[in-house]
């Protein structure tokens, strides 16, 4: 018996519900099929997914490939794939370490050691500081000649010097000077000197410290920053530090370079005033 008027027929309630469930099952199966890539794709496609921050897609693409690069790519993508879990990060670390132990002489091996450090330092929460340092130091010891791997020196400076008490920071900084001997690339050396220079400025107590800062920053400039913002910062820091230390010629040289090159920087007018004031004081 079907009741009408304001009551929904009881018989009809059951039918649409079964139909709904059936449709949902078919739809989800269909989506599942659509979701699985019909074609596994290439490593190039997988890296392109990393480039556009499609990390979940990249994990799947790498997982369907074979070889060291595919495994490395999978671990890199896992670091940012959703949901981010500590277990996933640790799994990525094991992959990096395994790749590095199997062969530390190829780029994948060297990058694996570097990224293990990165994962310990940046991706685990809380960071595992000592393991990060150990991975970074051993990455540098490989002497890979890869600029990215050599930036491990920069991360060591940040962890050892900044992530610690200010008392003793300068001593810790000075103890890291020998890291330069492990660096072979222009980029690696430039970033090392830039970081050391700014660190000395940040923790300086005396003009001797600031002189060390200036030496590093000048070396960084000699190695040439290619990013305009980095170059502008370097030139201003060199000019200001030299000015503070009374090294007038160096200060003027860098003030002029900055003022003539970075005309649309908010500090330009102030730096021009510094130049004028230096010239007037001559």
């Amino acid at each position: 018996m079907i009741t009408r008027c304001n009551h929904i027929p009881v018989r009809l309630l059951k039918f649409p519900l079964r139909l709904e469930i059936a449709c949902l099952l078919v739809a989800s199966l269909g989506l599942e099929v659509l979701g699985c890539p019909a074609n596994a794709g290439s490593l190039k496609k997988a890296w392109a997914e990393v480039d556009t921050f499609r990390f979940n897609e990249a994990v799947r693409s790498f997982a369907s490939q074979e070889g060291r690069e595919a495994l490395f790519g999978q671990a890199v993508a896992m670091l940012n794939s959703q949901p981010r879990t500590q277990n996933k990060i640790r799994e990525a670390i094991s992959i990096f370490e395994k790749l590095s132990m199997e062969n530390s002489c190829d780029p994948i091996g060297a990058l694996g050691r570097y990224y293990a450090g990165r994962a310990y330092q940046l991706h685990l929460d809380p960071p595992e500081r000592e393991k990060a340092l150990a991975s970074y130091r051993s990455a540098l010891d490989l002497g890979s000649g890869l600029p990215l791997v050599e930036t491990a020196a920069v991360s060591i400076i940040f962890i050892e010097v900044y992530d610690g008490p200010n008392s003793g920071a300068l001593e810790r900084l000075e103890s890291l000077e020998p890291l330069a001997e492990k660096l072979r690339t222009q980029i690696g050396l430039r970033e090392f000197h830039t970081t050391m220079g700014y660190a000395y400025l940040n923790f300086a107590k005396t003009d001797t410290n600031r002189q060390r800062a200036l030496t590093h920053l000048l070396e960084a400039d000699r190695l040439k920053a290619t990013r305009p913002q980095a170059e502008a910062e370097l030139w201003v820091a060199i000019g200001e530090t030299a000015n503070h230390l009374g090294q007038r010629e160096t200060a003027l040289t860098y003030y002029r370079k900055f003022a003539d090159t970075y005309k649309r920087d908010r500090r330009n007018h102030l730096i021009r005033e510094r130049i004028k004031s230096e010239n007037d004081g001559k």
């Binding site: 890296w47 990393v50 480039d51 556009t52 921050f53 990390f55 690069e69 490395f72 790519g73 890199v76 993508a77 670091l79 940012n80 780029p107 990058l111 990224y115 990165r118 940046l122 991706h123 890869l146 600029p147 990215l148 930036t151 920069v154 991360s155 940040f158 962890i159 900044y162 992530d163 610690g164 008490p165 200010n166 980029i187 970033e191 970081t195 700014y198 400025l201 940040n202 300086a204 600031r210 800062a213 920053a225 290619t226 990013r227 305009p228 913002q229 980095a230 201003v236 820091a237 200001e240 530090t241 503070h244 005309k263 649309r264 920087d265 908010r266 500090r267 330009n268 007018h269 102030l270």
Partner: protein, 531 residues
């Protein structure tokens, strides 16, 4: 007559008619959009949310010029209200049905930019072909913009996605009819003291005539811009003397350094410069209509357009709209920052704040799923040329984004002023929690019986803790960004060979990541060593 049957018939007929019209429209649109076929036009659809006066006219004029050069192209403008634009945009991008060009901004993050938009590639490092025959014909496209295309750049600035048409600056707008009525003159204030004098004259006028007129029309949005600007002027010298160390001279005040030196007592809320800044904010806030903090931008503009306020601070984007809708003549001038000669506030300031790297406005980019990506990119090159930029400024009266383009007479007032100094730091904009502490207690400064002392007494107990949560939050946010760009570095590292584009991009990214990591660790150091 069976009325039910008649009404059902009408209803069904209307539905059928609507369906037929929609179907016809879709078929027509599909025909227009089909590219490449002989005789067919390429319909370039451009979606944007800035509906202020001047924009549509300028885009129509630029579109007309482009189609004169490319007769097979047709431009369709799609203005979308700002309130719904963000949701509409993400729906189009995720659904893979975007128009050919979409305005950036309105909450679009770097991740969405990389995921959904096409990079312009090496075109930004080469001269713009549409600049041939102009003074910029040999200048790399990126260098032709006031802000070097920063507003359209992705993470690490290794890829550029967007091209901007204008730059945004803030000015004070004056109701000239009211000004003349109140002061007997059409001279707008040139100094802070002139501004204060005008405020006093306005209050006297209002009292004398019984007309409800306030000196400054404001809302939460534009009033905070004005007040932050005033406070930052008072901390210009403090930033250099107490917050930056020798060798450090940044274009903007880094919040972590401000917090670090606050925690170490190198400055305090009772430092003369800070007290001065708060007093200045209080003095000016009293000249804004009561309850402004709860009002929206449109409320303030309505108030001004009704002749209830002599002045209103606002941006480039409102200039043409105000001129169009206000039934009185308008003039613009700089915001009333006290200069070094001011008898009360001068000693703490260097002078006017530089607008040298002011952010761009109206930035368009090409979605990855655009139907006509190559034509869309070509349109962007055209829009970023001197010729199109001149059309933009002459039609919209907005300032041009390209350096070297003569702004229209009305836009010249809005062109960024290069000569000036770095701003100090704003007490109201160091982070969400410190901002909340300041705003929650602002009534103690400007309300009845309010005073600087009452305000400072209220905020001081919470300020250090609020700064701490702000810095912790910024560490988390920045670390998330670094995590993502780290993965990008791996990809570039494996593909980089000597002098390859990937090697160049890797180098840029490494420099960016080093600077980002340094910022994170300066914050970590400040938090770790907080007394």
């Amino acid at each position: 007559m069976n009325w039910e049957r008649v009404s059902n018939t009408i209803g069904i007929s209307l539905i059928a008619l609507c369906f037929a019209v929609s179907l016809g429209r879709i078929i027509t649109l599909r025909k227009e959009e089909r590219p490449g076929e002989e005789g067919r036009t390429i319909n370039l659809r451009i979606a944007y949310y800035q509906l202020e006066g001047g924009v549509r006219e300028a885009m129509e004029a630029i579109g007309k010029k482009y189609t004169d050069l490319h007769p097979n192209a047709h431009i369709t403008l799609m203005p979308i209200p700002e309130r719904i634009f963000k949701n509409w945009r993400i729906t189009q991008l995720v659904g893979q049905t975007p128009p050919d060009l979409i305005q950036l901004g309105s909450g679009l993050g770097e991740e969405q930019l990389a995921r959904y938009f096409e990079p312009l590639g090496e075109a930004v490092d080469r001269p713009n072909p549409y600049n041939k025959g102009t003074p910029l014909e040999n200048t790399a496209m990126r260098e032709t913009f006031f802000e070097a295309m920063q507003s359209g750049a992705g993470a690490g600035q290794i890829e550029y996605y967007g091209v901007s048409a204008s730059v945004g600056t803030i000015r004070m707008f004056y109701n000239m009819a009211l000004l003349k009525e109140i002061t007997g003159s059409t001279e707008i204030p040139k100094t802070y003291r002139d501004f204060i004098r005008l405020c006093e004259q306005t209050r006297n006028f209002s009292e004398k005539t019984g007309r409800k007129i306030v000196p400054v029309g404001g809302a939460g949005y534009n009033a905070s811009i004005l007040l932050d600007y005033l406070f930052s002027g008072q901390t210009q010298r403090l930033l250099q003397s107490a917050i930056n160390k020798p060798g450090q001279l940044s274009p903007r005040a880094p919040a972590n350094r401000v917090a670090d030196t606050y925690w170490k007592n190198e400055w305090s809320l009772h430092s003369p410069e800070v007290v001065s800044g708060i007093e200045l904010m209080g003095d000016v806030a009293k000249e804004i209509q009561p309850g402004f903090a709860q009002l929206q931008r449109d409320d303030a503009i309505f108030y001004f357009s009704q002749g209830s306020a002599v002045m209103i601070p606002s941006g480039t984007w409102d200039a043409v709209s105000l001129e169009t809708f206000c039934p009185f003549p308008i003039a613009t001038g700089q915001l009333p920052l006290p200069d070094p000669s001011d008898p009360v506030y001068g000693k703490n300031t260097y002078g006017p704040v530089s607008e040298a790297d002011q952010g761009a406005a109206f930035t368009l980019a090409v979605p990855r799923d655009a139907k006509n990506p190559e034509v869309a990119k070509d349109f962007l090159l055209f829009m970023g040329s001197m010729g199109a930029s001149k059309i933009w400024t002459d039609t919209s009266d907005w300032p041009p984004a390209i350096a070297g383009v003569e702004p229209s007479p009305k836009a010249s007032e809005f062109t960024p002023k290069d000569s000036g100094y770095p701003a100090g730091f704003p007490i109201n904009n160091l982070g969400a929690d410190s901002r909340r502490v300041v705003l929650n207690n602002f009534h103690l400064l400007i309300g009845p019986g309010g005073s600087t002392e009452a305000f400072l007494t209220a905020i001081e107990p919470e300020f250090a803790g609020a700064l701490e949560t702000d810095i912790r939050r910024s560490v988390r946010t920045t670390r998330d960004l670094l995590r993502r760009t780290d993965s990008l570095a791996a990809s570039l590292s494996l593909r980089a060979t000597d002098n390859s584009p990937e090697a160049r991009k890797l180098d840029l990214l490494i420099q960016m990541n080093t600077a980002t990591e340094r910022g994170i660790y300066e914050s970590i150091n400040a938090l770790r060593n907080k007394p």
